[in-house]
Symmetry: D2
Subunit: 109 residues, 4 copies
Amino acid sequence: MNDIELITQALLEFRDERDWAQFHNPKDLALALNIEASELLEAYLWKSSEQADIDKVKEELADVFAFAFLLAEKYDLDVKRIVLEKIEKNALKYPVAKAKGVAKKYTDL
Amino acid sequence: MNDIELITQALLEFRDERDWAQFHNPKDLALALNIEASELLEAYLWKSSEQADIDKVKEELADVFAFAFLLAEKYDLDVKRIVLEKIEKNALKYPVAKAKGVAKKYTDL
Amino acid sequence: MNDIELITQALLEFRDERDWAQFHNPKDLALALNIEASELLEAYLWKSSEQADIDKVKEELADVFAFAFLLAEKYDLDVKRIVLEKIEKNALKYPVAKAKGVAKKYTDL
Amino acid sequence: MNDIELITQALLEFRDERDWAQFHNPKDLALALNIEASELLEAYLWKSSEQADIDKVKEELADVFAFAFLLAEKYDLDVKRIVLEKIEKNALKYPVAKAKGVAKKYTDL
């Protein structure tokens, strides 16, 4: 079992011990992911990157990953495959020749 | 190299070919993660879970993972470890006896 | 009719001409508000405040206000009253003596 | 002084008594707005619209408005004007004939 499978297993076990599958529909998992992403953002509010509390970052990022893995599992998505495929797609939207050193959206390149 | 290391390597390569490390400070990575989480949420807007476009979910979830892995890499965080540690913490906040079948925040249990 | 009533009236008219009340349940309005807030955030991604495109800020902020006013209307909330009441509450959480010049959350003051 | 000016005045006073203008750059105000929008979203997590705690909705929506008004003030934007202008723009993107009873994004109409 690889790391992603192992993490997902641990998350499902935690969920099922609490009988929470009934609440974990994809839409609410997406809400939960947004809420956690926003708590992560709060670690940087009114601050520079350097001033952020790393422990808070670590905790909130863990929550983000938890809901992201749970949502991937709902759709039986292979996380490695979908990220590598997205990188390939983005390589077409952001060709090196145009995008190098430029932080613009592909629609503005 | 495990899956998470492999994904992270691919993301860093994509970033470095475009010379984007200069933009990828932790605060802006957290912003990017929130923006992608919100695009994922859009797949469910005005809809039930069943009506969501799975291709859109897949693409936006891939983007969420991309920025989550890049942020973890910035702080040299081991994704497996931080998620498993968070599960342990949450087990204390949400003891099975109290939380079983209940979708309340731990502060309201 | 004051400005807030006038804006709300215009938003309801726009909605009803399109027969969209059926989609505008509070939960989805809250999703829409988050999605627009995130599009506003995108105006600042990889940028300093000064580099943001003001036209994009204006458009996305208008969308944020639109869904915020629609949600307030759903619950028949008086925007002026709820904001002024929240300021009073926050004055207790952030007393001037403690909070002056300090950007900490009230729980850390 | 109309309601929006009055609310904005109260928010600026609260801010200035605490000497917080130094933290309130537009980028961080946009972060704060996102964080509050997400706390509002939390009122609906794992719930139907009807199950949401209205007091929480009221409080978080007040916070959303607070940062939205503060951001508008930063750019000297007239809230009524930008929302009415956006409605006009949206009327072109969502013509009644095409959009009536349909909850699709204008790009999919």
